[in-house]
Subunit: 334 residues, 2 copies
Amino acid sequence: MHALVYTDTKKLIYREEKNPKLLNGESIIKVSASGICGSDMHAYHGHDNRRIPPLILGHEVSGVISKGKDIGKKVVLNPLITCGTCNYCKKEKEHLCPKRIILGMNRPIERQGGFAEYVSIPDKNIYELPKNLKMQEAPIAEPCAVALHAVELGENELSLQLKDSKALVIGAGAIGLLCGLILSKVKKCKEIVIIEPNDNRLKESLKYLDADGLKPNSKNIHRDHFDIVFDTVGLEVTRQQAIQSIKPGGIIIHIGLTQPSGNFDFRKTTLQEITFIGTYCYTNRDFEKTLNILNNKEIGALEWIEYRNLKEGASAFKEIHDGKCTSPKIILLI
Amino acid sequence: MHALVYTDTKKLIYREEKNPKLLNGESIIKVSASGICGSDMHAYHGHDNRRIPPLILGHEVSGVISKGKDIGKKVVLNPLITCGTCNYCKKEKEHLCPKRIILGMNRPIERQGGFAEYVSIPDKNIYELPKNLKMQEAPIAEPCAVALHAVELGENELSLQLKDSKALVIGAGAIGLLCGLILSKVKKCKEIVIIEPNDNRLKESLKYLDADGLKPNSKNIHRDHFDIVFDTVGLEVTRQQAIQSIKPGGIIIHIGLTQPSGNFDFRKTTLQEITFIGTYCYTNRDFEKTLNILNNKEIGALEWIEYRNLKEGASAFKEIHDGKCTSPKIILLI
């Protein structure tokens, strides 16, 4: 099969690879579309110790079953593969399963990803493509589940309702925009500010999201103002912006993995009883809810997604790396 | 009146000061006992921008009303003075009131503290001394309310019950020991580990607390093991210990203010969905619950408290500073 293989830092090669073998309890999917995620970019930069080259990246995948049960069925994949038997899995907290692995990783266990013609996946991770969701758009289900989980984590913590809350979203990448769209269109939050340094990307996000769009250095980002802040970037500087702008008693949801550690103001956290929660994943239930949200068109048109062919994947990665990409999401078509 | 006045970094003088004046809605208390808190030590070290010398420190206070309503009544003080009208106060979150001030602070507003013969306090902050609580022990109500609030913040977050949780308490000072005692005796938590570098203090705490006592470098502090961690110290290194030892999906409650900022591993926070909550205070309701707990002897004998005379306060501060004090709490008697 053809695949886009991550061979070295900032290097991807479109080449022939062996087809995946059919395993017990799994199916082989003929991939139709596969999205580029921030964590694929993280690997591309050589910063991810769970994704070591050579490796086929990609975990936001839709396609058609080609081997296994239900051959010919149009499907979207939940790429989070879990043991199903540990205490976390039993309590529907699959995202905390110690044996979890995501497609397109090779540490601790190898699972070749979706930037390829074929991919193998356990049957329990396969969902039927919702009727009202286009095959090429369907990979968005995965980051959308991440955003839904993050928004609902925050919702569970808040003492007031999301619709009455002031929300700040840092970053207008896919997770930032999806958090914003879920806050606005699903949770009916009326006061949303989104911060993004890239002018074009900020403008693009505001075509779809009913929010104030600000640059990171704007004087209109008020201190001690927001009930809830979503840091979808995860840099030292964005965490500092999160802690400065959060209200006493407020909630910070931290989704980004860009800069793993850094300095942080614990004094405000303590004196103002701030709750800080990290997240990057979702439960099976979140994934199912997301498919419903997408099927019901609850977050609006997905016209902000850009599409490229898999064979042009390397240039898509480079464009994202160079900051030349306006769209918050590129999906590769196979 | 006589008072112990904080006059400069690491300097306290026992001297004559003006008596407080009776204000509308307030009473004057003839102080009987006044505890030394970690935040008084923080001021003593010159690290607290809310406590600038010259100032009478002290906010853990019991005594007898000498002017105002109910003259002669034995009382214990809630030193957290709040506006009573803001949204936080109205929602019984007085600890987040933006106008809050604690006795023994002079920024933003001056409130002379309890290391003196007399102190003035609003009537709404005065509670009758519980029958079964000795006057000299009563100042412990304040740090006990801090610990109760912290434990119940964690309890509200946990998906399992505290009695079935593995708890780690970092620090065997007053807040650490009180968190441990509340976890063990009030919440019936059966698996508690307490970490303390000072051998004598660790041994002293284990006389009263049913827990395993470990040194900070012990190999028996397991990684990814505890459902809930209480960092009652607040150093960069204790926060690192907290994040290392917490289980996926676990809760870190951060109470200490020792080192306001520092490096932190946000990667684990994010990948393992850790909840980190800062706290140092309590609500009026927490203070009332604490008085009940103390009246019912629920946390056991308070024999771990040491007593000194106010006029020897300066040497007590020095002893705590030098690490020579075994007891987690010194209360000054007037």
